[in-house]
């Protein structure tokens, strides 16, 4: 039964992530990414980590992808334009993705030479995660937080129009 569910959602994750890359319409790509992340959340639950699964849905599908959709609709990108001229960009992206994936696999196999501690349910429970995140990995956690804060401030500054005193203000939002 569990194997069946695993197979179903693993296939769904792989299939929908292919759609994300291949589909021409960005809204459909985003919606397939929703399916991908939902399937991965189900896989987390099957692995005995319901907390991480719930967070996956809450943060990624519930918030980040909605913002993706928001931006796509705000810019009104209906279809990917002139896919031919972007082939170089796509090839570069594919190469970078392959490199990152290869690097991750290499690290995985390098570490797998000697036996590792098994991923116990205690480690992926709420308490275990909190202990790791706010204990051993507190500094990286805070650095990531600072990085995100800097990114938010940077985005706000970049999005802000420079003040133009000689022009009367007309196009302000009501």
């Amino acid at each position: 039964m569990e194997t069946l569910i695993f197979l179903l959602f693993a296939l769904l994750a792989v299939g929908s992530s292919l759609v994300v890359v291949v589909h021409k319409n960005p809204v459909y790509s985003t919606m397939s990414l929703v399916v991908t992340l939902f399937s991965v959340a189900v896989l987390f639950v099957l692995l005995g980590a319901p907390f991480i699964g719930a967070l996956q849905i809450l943060i990624y599908t519930g918030a980040i992808l909605v913002l993706f959709l928001f931006v796509i609709m705000l810019l009104n990108v209906t279809r990917e334009e002139s896919a031919v001229s972007q082939q170089k960009v796509q090839a570069g992206g594919a190469l970078l993705g392959a490199l990152v994936f290869g690097g991750m696999l290499a690290v995985l196999f390098w570490n797998a030479r000697r036996p590792m501690d098994p991923m116990t349910e205690e480690l992926v429970s709420m308490k275990g995660l909190a202990r790791e995140m706010f204990g051993q990995y507190l500094l990286p956690f805070e650095i990531v937080g600072m990085l995100l804060l800097v990114a938010v401030i940077g985005a706000t500054v970049a999005a802000r129009k420079p003040p133009q005193p000689d022009k009367p203000v007309e196009d302000l939002e009501p």
């Binding site: 809204v27 599908t61 909605v66 959709l69 709420m126």
Partner: protein, 341 residues
Amino acid sequence: MPANLLATIVNIAVMVGFILTVVPVMVWVERRGSALMQDRPGPNRLGPFGLIQPLADALKFFFKEDVTPTAVDKPLYLLAPALAIMPALLTISVIPFGPALTIGDETYPLMIADAPAGVLLFLALASLGVYSLVLAGYASNNKFSLMGAIRASAQMISYELALTLAVLAVVIPVGSFHLQDVVDYQRAHVWNFIPQILGFVVFLIASFAETNRLPFDLPEAESELVAGFHTEYSAMRFASFFMGEYMSMTSLSALGVTLYFGGWSLPGVDLHGWLGAVVGLLVLVAKIAFCMAIFVWVRWSFPRFRYDQLMRLGWKVLLPVAIVNLILVAVLTLSGVLGAP
């Protein structure tokens, strides 16, 4: 059939039956309630007090022509109304509706999904509700609909933050994400809305925004956007948005009463066994009915917010208040004022 499976099926029948029954009842309450507040009779021809009116409304929806405009993005256009109902049906599964029932040697929890991360699961599944609005607005290929969808996505993301922070503050003194533990904590101490009145107010306001009810129904805003995200929908597809709204109101009310008003429990009354199960369910339904009455009352009392006012309230008032409440509850819990979990 194994007993566990049977218990789950009974639980599903009770809760899903309840949430589906709410819709016609709420149609009647909303129409008669608005009439009462506007000093007019309201629907009073069909049956005593117009009680059969929802049936007539439903029949009308069934027999109307289902128009699909030619320029719509068809798959997404058809998917959106189905997504409107789904989150409410899923989230109701983590709400406990009575004390655990012991039959023979087995103990059965009176909730569909006995999930240890129940509160998070509720928030996660409820956050999927925004997709139906956004997709409906996008797929309709209509400027008013698109405006509604853009508003919906920004509004629901903003208010979800405040809502989640308010809910997390409840979880701190309890020490568990399981909603049955939240109820047990309140049976041992006081109902959460007394020490956490600040968080409750944030939760209440944010839940109006999350369910797109007046004064925050900006995604539909009929005075400016025709009908917003569901402008192009008709017949049963329109009705499913309508049902989805009432059903998510119900499930959010169920979460609210479970977090702040003791859920199925009554103070000073020890509910257990079969009688406890029945009384617990009735108590929960009564509390939810009270919340739904507040939803109707607020809808017909307040004018709609402007979009910038909505955003300012969400980010500059509710979010800071929710953070202050979170810190306050954490300090009170650590200093032992709120009682040991």
